[in-house]
């Protein structure tokens, strides 16, 4: 009896142990599984999954993991244990995507895109694809190719409440063109007892987006890139000018109080509840605002111009991109699904149901007017993934934190510039002497 019991226990242990080795993508016959973080698109994705099954008989399964930080932790952990799903997204910089490619987790879809005269590739806005492309001689030594399929694009711009503009005596059809006009309009709104401007700068990357836009306008792309390379210091007068604009913003009293630690969701609530005159937010906000306040009357304008020396730009490029797991036995099926997902009818459905900018050409005529304004920004957009070099994370963090310190009056623009430059020097020294 005891021997029998021991045998059963031993067998169950062995089977438990072997079953642990089976990866998520291990069964070639199962449905194509997609991990995503886009909670606002969950229903639309499920509807599309149903349509795909109805059309092809093949099952796809969308799994939502939110918020995005938790999602990326899951993706990273699964990458380490080779248990990634068939399709997933990597949220982060080119460096992060390069790590996944280097580890063999992401399929190069360029051969598929170039098939049949590049039918699939030609669907997309070039800017949407560029963010997913690694060109020959890239600094990560990744084999050239396209490693992600963009399902939408995004631009980050200024948004203004037309009703509040009217109440402040500002023509709602003439949003500010220049930085000075922006400050003046903000002060007029503040006189109503309403914050002139709000943005979720507790989410540091939003500060970075605005600062980058201003830097490109003030000094031009070449000088920004030279700074990233380490040949122009952050203490350069042009960079100090960028910092001084945030100083001006802080001192002008047009900012919503507490903006430096406010998460973007709170900033979106303030703007949609008509408790702020202007906001700095991405094209996804159209969907967010329509959910929070469907009657909100607002317009969009690009980052105000500081100088005429260089073109003004807006931050924009691929929004959400999906990658195919190169180790999945269903990789081919995953590619087929992504081809279908980025075809006209599906993109049109996503645009109308989720109010995001499409990644493919030819469906923009179906988007609301305010979203079309966001789409216009793509023409003058810049995006780190399209630059030959990007700044390192520790410097970006110090840069964003320094701007927070300027806004709360803790640092002068010059002190902030020196602080960021010291972080840059540390990074350059590390790069020169790797241990």
């Amino acid at each position: 009896m005891k021997k029998g019991l021991a045998g059963i226990l031993l067998a169950s242990l062995v089977f438990t142990g072997t079953s642990c080795n089976k990866s998520d993508a291990g069964d070639a016959k199962g449905p194509v599984t997609i991990w995503h973080w886009m909670s606002d698109r969950e229903d639309a994705f499920k509807e599309l999954a149903d349509r795909y099954k109805a059309q092809t008989g093949k099952e796809v399964r969308f799994e939502l993991y939110a918020p995005s930080e938790a999602y990326m932790q899951k993706v990273r952990a699964s990458g380490q244990t080779t248990t990634l799903p068939d399709i997933f997204g990597v949220l982060g910089e080119s460096r992060d995507i390069a790590s996944f490619i280097e580890a063999g987790h992401i399929l190069n879809v360029q051969p598929e895109m170039d098939k049949d005269g590049g039918v699939w590739r030609k669907r997309f806005y070039p800017e949407a694809l560029e963010g997913n492309e690694f060109k020959a001689g890239n600094r990560f030594n990744i084999p050239p190719g396209i490693y992600g399929v963009p399902i939408d694009v995004t631009t980050i711009q200024f948004i203004y409440n037309k009703g509040i503009f009217r109440r402040a005596g500002i023509d709602p059809n003439k949003p500010p063109e220049t930085w000075d006009e922006f400050i003046v309009d903000g002060k007029k709104i503040a006189k109503l007892g309403i914050p002139g401007f709000v943005s979720g700068w507790g989410d540091l990357w939003l500060i970075e987006c605005l600062a980058d836009n201003l830097a490109f306008n003030i000094m031009g792309q070449d000088k920004v890139i030279a700074t990233y390379r380490g040949t122009v210091p952050y203490t350069d007068p042009d960079w100090v000018k960028v910092f001084s604009l945030f100083d001006e913003l802080g001192k002008s009293k047009i900012l919503a109080e507490g903006v430096v630690t406010m998460i973007n969701k709170s900033a979106e609530q303030l703007f949609s509840n008509e408790r702020a005159g202007m906001a700095f937010n991405g094209s996804w906000a159209v969907n967010v605002y329509s959910g929070m306040n469907p009657s909100l009357d607002y317009g969009v304008f690009p980052t105000p111009r500081v100088t005429d020396k260089h073109p003004r730009v807006v931050w924009g490029g691929p929004g959400s991109s999906l990658m195919v797991n190169a180790k999945s036995p269903r990789a081919q099926e995953a590619v087929l699904f992504l081809k279908w997902l980025t075809d006209g009818p599906q993109q049109k459905y996503l645009v109308t149901s989720t109010k995001n900018l499409p990644s493919i050409e030819g469906v923009s005529q179906d988007i609301p007017a305010v979203l079309a304004k966001f789409a216009d920004g793509m023409k003058i957009s810049v995006h780190p993934s399209r630059l030959p070099i990007t700044e390192t994370s520790p410097v970006i963090e110090r840069f964003d934190k320094a701007i927070q310190s300027i806004i709360i009056g803790e640092k002068t623009p010059q002190e902030a510039a020196e602080d960021v430059e010291s972080a840059k020097k540390e990074e350059l020294a590390k790069a020169a002497n790797p241990q």
Partner: protein
């Protein structure tokens, strides 16, 4: 004298072996899980801390103790330790004093004791993110509840963006943490108080002792083991604060509310320095262990005294 077995017969396996073997097999799943989810990660983190690795790539560079040396020069890391220590100090004193006071009151069989017990234990069971978001609206600058109240009673000068002002951000966050955490201490301290035999109190009262005297001479000495437990849990729980920081300040403004956990996550995910983040984890773990042992030693000594 036992009879000799024929040479071809195998030795019988004693019954005790099967007993032990079966018992061992029953324990095996738990042991396997302990090895997989506790021991392996524990030792692996030491190995990973000696690497320069982004957490995904196959490229790993062994850097010996470089990450540890870097930590000692990382001013922001030590600033975050200081911030966490400040919040911990407040939690150890104010939070636990409040918890003890409330536990002492509820222990005195006041009316509605059960209701209070439930109310006081409500904040700890709420999600840190939810609590953070609720307090965001209380602390908000332009439209916050706290500022509205201050203005209503004529204290306009005190109104501010509590979480964005460098003078108040960390303390404001600490208040939220204490509000959320005092219920744990309350429950444990209440259990401790209820374990003290009532006869001791009655005898003391018969002997003419006052309430304060009873508290210092009976309650406090008998509660020392409970105080140790609550203190250690407070230190460990508060030093590892994370979700509230993310939901309220994100570590800002500047670095004013950064804590060790936000730095570890920033290095692991933001900077993709997995090895460095692991070494931060090792150093942090060692500090927490030392603090806990120190706390136990000090408390033991005071008990002996």
């Amino acid at each position: 004298m036992s009879a000799e077995l024929p040479p071809s017969t195998p030795l019988p396996i004693p019954k005790s072996f099967w007993d032990n073997f079966t018992s061992g097999l029953f324990v095996m799943p738990a042991v396997a899980m302990f090895f997989t989810f506790s021991l392996y990660p524990f030792f692996n983190v030491f190995y990973l801390s000696a690497l320069e690795w982004d957490g995904i790539s196959t490229l790993r560079r062994f850097v010996h103790f470089s990450n540890y040396i870097e930590i000692f020069h990382d001013k922001i890391w030590w600033l975050s330790m200081g911030n966490a220590a400040y919040v911990t100090l407040l939690a150890l004193t104010l939070q636990n004093a409040l918890a003890l006071a409330l536990a002492w009151l509820v222990d005195r069989d006041i009316k509605g004791g059960q209701v209070y017990r439930s109310i006081f234990f409500l904040p700890p069971i709420l999600s840190g993110i939810v609590v953070g978001l609720i307090w965001n609206w209380i602390y908000m600058g332009n439209y916050g509840l706290l500022n509205y109240f201050l203005k209503a009673i004529g204290l306009d000068a005190l109104a501010r963006a509590w979480l964005a002002d460098p003078d108040t951000a960390l303390t404001s966050m600490a208040v939220v943490h204490m509000w959320k955490g005092f219920g744990w201490g309350f429950i444990i301290l209440l259990a401790g108080l209820q374990g003290i035999p009532r006869e001791l109190y009655e005898s003391a009262r018969v002997d003419g002792a006052g309430e304060l005297h009873i508290f210092w001479k009976i309650t406090v000495p008998l509660m020392i083991p409970v105080f140790i437990l609550v203190s250690v849990l407070t230190i460990l729980g508060t030093m590892q604060i994370y979700d509230l920081v993310v939901a309220t300040t994100g570590g800002g403004p500047g670095y004013h509310t950064e804590v060790p956990m936000t730095r570890i996550i920033a290095k692991m995910l933001g900077s993709a320095r997995f090895g460095y983040a692991c070494s931060m984890g090792v150093v942090f773990g060692a500090i927490l262990l030392t603090l806990s042992l120190l706390q136990i030693q000090i408390s033991k000594r005071s008990r002996v005294d």
